[in-house]
Symmetry: C3
Subunit: 139 residues, 3 copies
């Protein structure tokens, strides 16, 4: 039984940019030498999120539209009054979608569906260089 803590960087454009990080998470498992367990994918930050979706341009576009409708960018947020950085909407989107995702793996392979990818969503209002943590635990 072992724990392997891996991190990798992802450059994003912000504004709900969606980046497929499935291969990077699989690489973390490969590096860990662990055969079966849980890969916890976590982004240390309060303006991004992690989820799964079929990573094709139509579904990504649909997801962005829904998120914009549920938590619109252009309205007043009290967070903005405090800090003036204008990313109040980013914080709320992150709190709703959330920054953690746990995926099981067996025989060193992520147990995802055929059309299911792990996606980093960057809700911030500027390009970012994100650090993603993958905590691999198992045996």
């Amino acid at each position: 039984m072992a724990v392997f803590t891996d991190t990798f960087q992802v450059k994003t454009k912000g504004f709900c940019d969606a980046v497929d990080i499935t291969d990077k998470v699989q690489t973390s498992i490969d590096k860990s030498g662990i055969n079966d367990g849980i890969a916890l994918v976590f982004i240390a930050g309060s303006t991004a999120g992690i989820t799964t979706i079929e990573y094709e341009s139509g579904a990504i576009s649909d997801l962005k539209r829904t998120i914009e409708e549920l938590v619109p960018q252009n309205r007043e947020y009290r967070h903005n009054l405090r800090w003036g950085d204008g990313n109040g909407f980013s914080h709320i989107r992150s709190a709703i979608i959330q920054t953690d995702l746990s995926v099981p793996f067996a025989d060193r392979k992520l147990l995802l569906g055929t059309w299911q990818q792990i996606v980093l969503l960057d809700f911030d209002n500027r390009p970012r260089n994100r650090k993603v943590v993958v905590q691999v635990i198992g045996e």
Copy 2:
């Protein structure tokens, strides 16, 4: 310390069908022989979700109404233009609700509330036979 990978099948009707899978997850823990740890409940697919709710017909009906309001079925989705299978709404609902749920257990019992059940939500637009993975990890 050990990892036990279990899977079970669930037949659903699609269209936000909600199935109580608490007993099946508890059975996975029973089979594992692990006393204390984490049960990661995961659905390998991009048109379903896992959450907890009090599994009674009123609350389930309320949840379905809210999901329909947040991500309506009958509107245009770009995903549909690509594939023509008409389940664009299913993908977005899955990305929002998400496909993973981690529940702690101790003394071989899930640490759920009295009125809290683990529920599979099938967002697809047709009946499905779903495979649920339970990754049990602990000692």
Copy 3:
């Protein structure tokens, strides 16, 4: 490798009260003696949730507004017809935000962002004394 099950109590005011529980989760890790692993934060109940957000009054106020807009308190819920306790909205909010959050830790420290706190949201319609479970697993 070890599992350490900890619990702590949190008094809340209900009605989307948001309580920063980051220090309490860190204390659970401290008590566990485990250096690296996963802290699963879970609330055993069907009318509360766990997420992360920058815990400052503006962002918290914005989050409460969004949750009220997505799942309004003052409308008819079928759950209320059944039980008469008037907290149908609380159940739906809990099912959407969800009751689990997994956070990685290394060298005995939670790997959170600088402005990212772990927050208990109590969606119930009255003050509650909540029990939070922290399942610490690692080595």
